[in-house]
Symmetry: C2
Subunit: 341 residues, 2 copies
């Protein structure tokens, strides 16, 4: 058993160098002669050395840890975002300590304490239980994604532009009325831009429109029932008129599409539908659903790039305090499929 771990001390004795030289071998190899490098390299193999980054962190203060707090992973959006964030390891070299908070603020605070105890250098926040003012008080580089971000840096989808694109697409398909279906939430959430974008576009172009804002349910069954209600309502209110539906997520879009399709065996010509997110369901639906695709890979990359910049600044001898919060917006991409033709 190789239970006893090999340290710089062991290597030093084995090679008749000092600990310092061994350290230099790793951090500044050029300062050793090539022969000595080889000697040490061989010793590492002979002894079966294994790095201990914890000791390194304790000594130099750079943990290379980034904390992530994410609400859940059953929503494809979050899963894909985490996917893309983790994928930046190859580029930036930071390791990720991931916590899931199901929306409980107190839990989230505990997680942050735990992250702080592990000396994370920065944090990416996707959850929304804690107000940004409080997050900012931790005095740690923080980048948020798609949440209230007044006092912290952020990278968000340009929801407004996404809504404008979606609304414009619907308006081109000769709809008599446009309807935006969304849940109710605060105005400081980036996603609120979808509502504004829809309204502004309709008003600017004098398009008849309606906003349906209500709780849209969570379980598939709930969602189905509520969508059925909305469908009935629209049929009554706008009989034999072409209705252009801008649904706030692909899940809702799919649900109402299914209801229509099961009634007619196709998408009734009275309806046009566009979703949001470009989640898998949009492509796998009975009729591929037009949608607004968030550039999750780009958002994740920009968030990391921004965070790395902030963390680097902090490592300088004389770090400049950050004056203004940075808020980046990533333009989404309109994806035209069969529900808007």
């Amino acid at each position: 058993m190789d239970k006893k771990k090999v340290t710089f001390n062991d290597i030093a004795k084995y090679t008749n160098f000092s600990k310092t030289t061994i350290s230099r071998y790793f951090n500044n190899p050029d300062s050793l002669t090539v022969e000595n490098q080889d000697i040490i390299a061989q010793a590492l193999i002979d002894l079966g050395y294994q790095k201990n980054k914890l000791a390194k962190v304790l000594a130099n203060g750079k943990s290379e840890f980034i904390g992530i707090i994410i609400p859940n992973l059953y929503l494809h959006y979050y899963a894909e975002m985490l996917n893309q964030i983790l994928s930046t390891y190859k580029t930036f070299g930071y390791k990720f300590l991931v916590f899931m908070s199901r929306g409980n603020a107190e839990t989230e605070r505990e997680y942050i304490q735990e992250l702080l105890a592990y000396k994370i250098e920065g944090m990416i926040i996707l959850s929304h239980a804690i107000p940004s003012s409080e997050l900012a008080s931790y005095n740690l580089p923080i980048v948020s994604i798609e949440r209230e971000d007044q006092y912290i840096n952020s990278v968000n989808t340009d929801n407004y532009m996404g809504a404008v694109q979606a609304t414009s697409l619907l308006s081109k398909s000769d709809c008599d009325v446009l309807v935006h279906v969304n849940s109710v939430f605060s105005k400081d959430i980036p996603a609120y831009g979808r509502i504004q974008g829809f309204e502004d576009t309709c008003k600017e172009n004098n398009i008849r429109h309606e906003l349906i804002l209500r709780d849209l349910g969570h379980s598939p069954q709930e969602i189905h029932n509520i969508m059925a209600e909305i469908y009935e309502y629209l049929n009554r209110k706008y009989p034999s008129q072409r209705k252009g539906l801008f649904m706030s997520t692909d899940t809702y879009a799919n649900s109402i599409l299914n209801i229509i399709f099961r009634e007619y065996g196709s998408l009734s010509d009275e309806y046009r539908i566009i979703g949001f997110d470009d989640s898998p369901i949009a492509a796998q639906a009975i009729l591929p659903i037009s949608t607004v695709g968030q550039q999750i890979d780009k958002i994740a990359y920009e968030a990391m790039e921004l965070l790395v910049m902030l963390m680097d600044e902090r490592k300088k001898r004389r770090p400049k305090p950050q004056i203004e919060r940075i808020h980046k917006k990533i333009t989404p991409i309109l994806i035209r499929r069969e529900t808007t033709e």
Copy 2:
């Protein structure tokens, strides 16, 4: 700026205790008088102390880190599994260091080295790029989930039983022929049990059956095309006979269901379909798809329980070497929905 971090030393001076007493306050508070506890508690607030677990780890060797290597997160199965694993933090207290390897063995080895450098106490492996024999050689508590597991501990779905349940359900709906559609993979993957379960059940009950094993495509478009081919093939080979389809994933099941539904405006009576995984698509399909639900929460919990047991054993003064690998099987749950009625 509170740049200078407060240490036990500062607290000791502030309270006129020794570092040891401060340490004991955290690790064995009962050994102090209540009054002294209060004094220290107050000092922590006054000074704004913040734990440093890295220093603690270096001193006592217990990192409370678990490494996770997961192939991706765009498959709902993996996302949900990670979801459930992360959720065990509240129960077991272990922190997770997550890496994504997109199936590259060399990359995976680098990740393992990195994990080892951070002194993880154990590892959960969901990826399959590295053979279990090699993983075992790291001499670290390891639990794998749903992959080749000859030389390591594992927790897997009882794929065989799942297939038996699915096949039995199909056989009860008066099918003339049962067909299992799956991709091709090695026999030492747990999912191979699905093929065996299907075949055995058919043979035991003298049911006419066919196995379609081939590459089933990856992009939605590819999948669609291949499913269309299979659909044509089945129609030619078994005209006007009722075909019971056991698809290896819900994604495939949904794809072929869509093809049929778009042709008939409903699920033709010539077809019965069951999928596998109980992924969201199964519930959101045009017709809710019957499926075999993996108990992901249970699998994750059992994996952690097993891993914690192994890690605890290792912390004992005289750890018993593990002789036999432990392989747990979790029975999946048959979910009857509308495609098998």
